[in-house]
Symmetry: C2
Subunit: 253 residues, 2 copies
DNA sequence: CCGGCTTCTTTGTCCGTACATTAAGCCGGT
DNA sequence: ACCGGCTTAATGTACGGACAAAGAAGCCGG
């Protein structure tokens, strides 16, 4: 801690805490405010300013009386475009189900590279056809490092969600990621699977899921574009995905 | 200010400030921290706690030395999917240009209803073909109430952005809105305009822009899906659109 | 009239303290 | 063994003060 430096004290503290977090130092418990006050010899106000950031990012929790902990289980998964889509389906009252088309371990050079791994790294591969009620909704493909996701091979994905199984069997909860949303044309195979006519458009969502900044999941999902949309609210705080079902149809001019 | 109430002091202060803001009390200038300390007879710490929320929401600005102001003009528009897309194009170094295909006043029952207006309300209609460098990028159609947007009829949209013209000629800056992103197939007319082959997929972005919660803009944009994607980061804070250009291409299986 | 300097205001950072509120754990009694 | 109350630990709220940094405005001289 350099008190003469240009960067504020609380920022130095925050940087140091992040480094210790990345080093896996606080996997069991996280020090409280007063503990940090003693460790770093700064005021509680400074500690709170640093912790404020970690708390808003959801890295640690804080509440009166409760002991400070790291990334608690009861915090829900950060909402991505896919979660938003599937939530919209559920809000329509349709039951969701999946047909598991593949669940095995294989290597994929392209995907492994995206995850920052060696090309030959074994990956757990899960391919599902997601149904909303009786109709096909999306084709979902996920790759995860076998080292972490091995236990998933025994799981049943017909009804449960991937992230639930991940947290339950592997003790891993993704903390963030990056998504790309594009429009693509369905190939013949995809049309057959999704019961689509010739020339149907699909929403393609690619997601790289991360745990504490380290990529851990690559996901490739194709969603029927004729019926489903990603909905979001925009305000000064940013872009908030909504679960409201899309209502309008397209009028072809 | 009730010091015995269950709600914290800073929250009462925040509520009161919001009420005064809604009443249009601070259109000229906004009181500083010390001014509020005197007005409400609370500590600066309490004032800062209340102001923290208004500042993160972007309602007021705060910086050393600068006088506190309300929603300054230099704050940029809340970032929507479209802005993210176009920023990605610019980050590639491509010049953006528009061809104005229509700019007039007309009535449209469907759109007017979406804006919460009478079906016969006159609307300023702007249709542009957006180019990234030499190639067509998107077909953009916007409707705004003529009552507000009348001055836009004299504007030149070849190079400038709609929101700049809106703020300059109409004194209006949108504060939020709702977007829907879908995948659609290009119609024949759209293919011709955008120079697309048969069976090309488009990203369709529909946006209802709002000013203080009241809808003021309906926008319908079709973006070439083969080359452009909406990119976003996901973390505990939510969904943050990125301006990074998409890199990957699709491998057709 | 312009440029540079000084002064002033405003927010950022940092310290200290005290009490209230809440959750969790301990402990003893039934 | 279970329930309830007490203790303890942790954060939330609120007060106080002091100095630093940085922009804005005014002053003054060239």
């Amino acid at each position: 801690m350099d008190r003469t430096a240009a960067v504020p004290l609380w920022q130095q503290l925050l940087t140091d805490l992040r480094a210790r977090l990345a080093g896996g130092e606080f996997t069991i418990d996280f020090p409280g405010e007063l503990a940090l006050v003693e460790q770093y010899s700064v005021s509680r106000h400074t500690v709170r300013e640093a912790l404020r950031h970690l708390r808003t990012e959801g890295v640690v929790t804080a509440a009166r009386g409760r002991r400070p902990r790291l990334a608690p289980a009861e915090v829900e998964q950060p909402l991505g475009a896919l979660a938003s889509l599937f939530a919209a389906v559920e809000s329509r009252g349709l039951e969701q189900r999946s047909i598991v088309r593949a669940l095995d371990v294989r290597a994929d050079g392209v995907v492994a590279t995206r995850l920052g791994l060696e090309e030959s790294t074994p990956l757990v591969y899960l391919e599902r056809l997601r149904l909303a009620g009786p109709e096909p909704l999306a084709l979902d493909r996920v790759w995860l490092p076998a080292e972490v996701a091995q236990p998933l091979l025994a799981a049943d994905f017909t009804h449960s969600a991937l992230y639930d199984e991940l947290s339950q069997h592997c003790g891993v909860r993704l903390t963030g990621g990056r998504e790309q949303v594009r429009a693509v044309l369905a190939t013949r195979g995809e049309r057959a699977l999704l019961h689509l006519p010739v020339g149907a458009a699909l929403l393609m969502v690619e997601r790289t899921g991360c745990l504490h900044g380290r990529p851990l999941e690559f996901r490739h999902t194709l969603v029927r574009g004729d019926r489903y949309a990603v909905t979001a609210d925009v305000d000064a705080r940013g872009y908030t995905l909504t679960t409201a079902a899309p209502t309008s149809r397209r009028s072809t001019p």
